[in-house]
């Protein structure tokens, strides 16, 4: 009975989404305020019923209801409770339900936090979100019903993919989806603006906190996924340029461009049509990612079970949503483009360059991801674009991005003096040069790519010093010692958020540079009692014992690590064999630190108790994820800026007038 209730709740959510997509929109054109007022309760209704469906699926997992096909295929009575919870989104159908529930959740959030917005805008934004909701709910009900029953029910479930039985992966998809789906709000605002024909600073100001919030989730989700791959896959890598990873990176890059472009549109009224295009692009890439993962078009380590019917559905859905919005863009954008003028040397120019570079990176990722498909379509044969290509492209483009990123925040809007800017940049430039030079002198010069280390360190120092300079410049006329705190408390949060996020990038660059140039790995064969040395650390292998876990058997290795004579860590890497799926899984064991990780993973058992092992020394690898965390914190700081709250108060006073004006225009 319970699964049927879940199914029923989904159908009700679809019904509400249908009304939400039509009625408020019609109201916004006819000026019918009653119709427009239905948008908020409908968005809430859609959310409540999606949440009920989600809760009922969760209940089916917790009660081991194997009469539900989805539960039987992805759960098992032996599984720990936390994985029964995360198994809800561990495969295609459930993750789609999570998507739809989050989408409805963002809709409900817009409905609650939009009191200051003109009613027609709210009506249109929520109508667009309703349309997107229809697509996902229909997709689920027509091709991927998570509540489908099986008779007779199996006695035991098939277990969740062991790769996914990990705390990191339990929360990685929800964060990622919150990010993906969050861009639907920016998208809906953009479409609503195109429909209304009004793109102004107010529109940009409303979109900004939503965009940044989605971006924070996406940043955290990607970082968590990368961290998970690092410790779970056992190869010590943190990014594989896999199609699914790329699918999350593309919206992130486009979303990052969008955040910066929105800043220009809000402050200077420029880049309007470009900002709208980015808002459409960021969400379109989220949808495209969903398509690539679930259609079977590309192979990937984390591809979901593929089904051509699903692929066809999503492709048609993509055509309607993306094609429709781009057509609307082609039709309405020429009328709204234009805006604030600016000189060549101005912050606008630097932000434009940032946007172009980020767009270029997005295009490169898209191209690399689709290359196998392009090759096949053109009958050029098969190709797999791997690591080297992506790495070369990113190493070629991102230094320019980081370089400009140091100058942008010091530049004035509209027009700047070359001499003034040069004065500001003099000190950061000298320090950076000195730091790079010092790196060259200090480093053990061995590799072919020797210049990458001083380049990476130099760029990080550049970002650090230029942003410190930007803070100094901002506080120039406030000499009191606590100035930065009062500034934070008043209206400086978005500024300091930007600084924090950019310093996160600097940290990220340091991590990547050091780990990829000075990381060491050793594939070795070891006997119990044997010792191996990696980067000056001695790894003593005590042998492997067998252990039983809740739903697996594990071979568990024991290592002691010495720095000189001093024991510094004990590591317990495992190789698990899960009962239900018989899949082997490696669980690496890591001694982590701010400046280095020591990493051991078990390979294959060889004869005489010997094991094939992988030992890694990963200097500064944590900085990669800490950098991402700092970026997310920066975003968080920025959205708490007083300006957005102030705008809310001002907006409320203006609402009545704006309402009438907007209605009259449309």
């Amino acid at each position: 009975m319970i699964p049927e209730l879940g199914h029923y709740a989904l159908i009700l959510a679809l019904g509400l989404a249908l009304i939400q997509a039509v009625l408020p929109l019609a109201g916004s054109y006819t000026g019918n305020r009653a119709w427009m007022h239905t948008a908020r309760p409908l968005a809430w209704g859609q959310f409540i019923f999606s949440a009920i469906a989600f809760a009922l699926l969760l209940l089916a997992f917790l009660t081991d209801d194997f009469s539900v096909v989805y539960v039987a295929s992805n759960s098992n009575t032996l599984m720990p409770t936390i994985y029964k919870v995360s198994a809800v989104w561990g495969a295609h159908e459930g993750s789609l339900l999570l998507w739809a529930a989050f989408l409805a959740g963002w809709g409900a959030a817009v409905a609650s936090l939009s009191r200051n917005l003109p009613l027609p805008i709210v009506a249109r934004v929520l109508a667009v979100m309703g349309m997107v909701g229809i697509g996902f709910l229909l997709f689920m009900l027509l091709t991927s019903n998570p509540f489908e029953r099986i008779f007779p029910p199996p006695l035991e479930g098939r277990d969740l993919n062991p790769l996914l039985q990990d705390p990191g992966l339990a929360i990685h998809p929800p964060l990622l989806y919150m990010g993906y789906v969050g861009f639907s709000v920016a998208f809906a605002f953009a479409i609503a603006a195109l429909l209304g024909g009004k793109l102004d600073a107010a529109w940009a100001r409303w979109s900004r906190p939503w965009t940044t919030t989605a971006w924070i989730f996406l940043t955290l989700g990607i970082a968590l996924g990368s961290w998970w791959a690092y410790y779970e896959l056992g190869w010590g890598g943190w990014w594989f340029w896999d199609p699914v990873e790329n699918a999350s990176l593309m919206p992130w890059l486009a979303g990052t461009a969008l955040m910066h472009s929105l800043a220009v549109t809000e402050k200077r009224g420029a880049f309007k049509s470009w900002t709208v295009l980015l808002a459409i692009t960021a969400f379109s890439l989220s949808l495209l990612g969903t398509f690539l993962v679930r259609s079977g078009v590309l192979t990937s380590v984390h591809a979901f079970a593929t089904d051509p019917a699903r692929g066809t559905f999503i492709l048609i859905f993509l055509c309607i949503v993306i094609g429709g919005s781009l057509a609307l863009y082609a039709w309405r954008a020429p009328a709204v483009s234009g805006g604030g003028r600016f000189e060549l040397l101005s912050r606008e120019s630097f932000l434009l360059a940032n946007n172009l570079l980020l767009t270029l990176l997005t295009a490169l990722v898209l191209l690399g991801t689709l290359a196998p498909l392009i090759y096949e379509a053109m009958a050029w044969g098969k190709i797999s674009v791997g690591f080297p290509w992506f790495n070369t492209m990113f190493v070629a483009v991102t230094p320019f991005l980081a370089f400009l990123m140091g100058i942008g925040p010091l530049t004035r809007w509209k027009q700047d003096e070359p001499m003034r800017l040069a004065r500001e940049l003099r000190l950061p430039f000298i320090v950076t040069g000195a730091a790079s030079l010092l790196t060259v002198i200090l480093m053990p010069l061995i590799t072919l790519d020797w210049y990458l280390v001083p380049l990476g360190i130099g760029l990080a120092v550049w970002l650090l010093t230029s942003h410190l300079q930007a803070i100094r410049e901002r506080l120039r006329h406030k000499s009191r010692p606590g100035a930065i705190l009062t500034d934070l408390a008043s209206n400086g949060r978005s500024f300091y958020g930007m600084i924090l996020a950019h310093l996160g990038v600097a940290m990220f660059v340091v991590g990547i540079t050091l780990v990829s140039n000075y990381g060491q790995e050793k594939d070795v064969r070891m006997s119990p009692g044997g010792v191996q040395e990696v980067a000056g650390y001695r790894f003593l292998f005590h042998g492997v014992t067998t252990q039983r876990g809740p739903n697996y058997m594990a071979a568990r290795g024991h290592f002691q690590i010495f720095d000189g004579q001093r024991p510094i860590a004990e590591l317990w890497p495992e190789k698990r064999s899960y009962f239900a799926s018989q899949k082997p899984m490696t669980e690496a064991s890591i001694d982590w630190g701010l400046t280095r990780d020591l990493y051991v993973s078990l390979g294959e058992p060889l004869e005489d108790g010997d094991w094939a092992l992988r030992l890694y020394y990963k200097p500064y690898v944590r900085w990669i994820w800490l950098g991402a965390l700092l970026m997310a914190l920066g975003g968080l700081l920025a959205i708490t800026d007083r300006r957005y709250r102030l705008a809310r108060g001002l907006g409320r006073a203006r609402t009545g007038v704006a309402d009438n004006a907007a209605v009259a225009r449309s």
């Binding site: 259609s295 079977g296 590309l298 094609g323 498909l373 797999s384 690591f387 594939d523 094939a612």
Partner: protein, 185 residues
């Protein structure tokens, strides 16, 4: 007019993307009909990995059934399939496994075999894709099943997984006559 056209560019790009994705829906990226299946294996002659004095060539394929596995130490999926190859090397006495070490460096390749075991009777060393290009290698790993007369019975793209031998490779060969089954070629 020119100004309006500019705003149509995104839509046009998207139309191209849709055409591509629509094409992609109809194909299975894991299945590639190799034009080589049923044909004699392309001629090749390469030094053996770790023993430059020795040559690996088509002569090594004659007389018994071979699995020719294209691998590289940098390739993630190759490491994943390594355990399966080790198992096949132990269990399949009537089949020899030959390696084609592809676009790799000798040191890395040897290191990987030392650490994880060596399932290959011998590995041909092909750092510059000399033989790979004639064999139509698109990416590692790939595995060719070759009969005792040096004819290719089957080409597997992607890692060898548990069951790959039993369900995909074995049905294409007659192990008593050591020849490809004609119906498949």
């Amino acid at each position: 007019m020119g100004k309006t056209l500019k705003f149509l560019i995104p839509l046009a790009l998207f139309a191209g993307l849709v055409a591509l994705l629509f094409f992609g829906l109809g194909t299975d990226p894991r299945k590639v009909p190799s034009p080589l299946v049923g044909k004699p294996a392309p001629t090749f002659s390469l030094p053996a990995l770790g023993d430059p004095g020795r040559t690996v060539s088509n002569a090594d394929l004659l007389g018994q059934v071979s699995l020719v596995n294209v691998w590289a130490s940098w390739c993630y999926s190759c490491r994943a399939e390594h355990a399966q190859l080790m198992r096949l090397a132990r269990e399949l006495k009537e089949v020899q496994i030959l390696g084609l070490n592809w676009k790799d460096t000798e040191a890395d390749a040897k290191q990987m075999l030392r650490a994880s075991g060596d399932p290959y009777r011998v590995s041909a060393f092909d750092p510059d894709n000399r033989a790979g290009i004639h064999w139509g290698v698109y990416g590692a790993p790939e595995t060719f099943l070759v009969d005792s007369e040096g004819r290719i019975c089957y080409k597997k793209i992607g890692p060898v997984e548990p069951g790959t031998w039993e369900t995909e490779l074995a049905p294409t060969i007659d192990l008593t006559t050591k020849k490809c089954k004609e119906s498949r070629s």
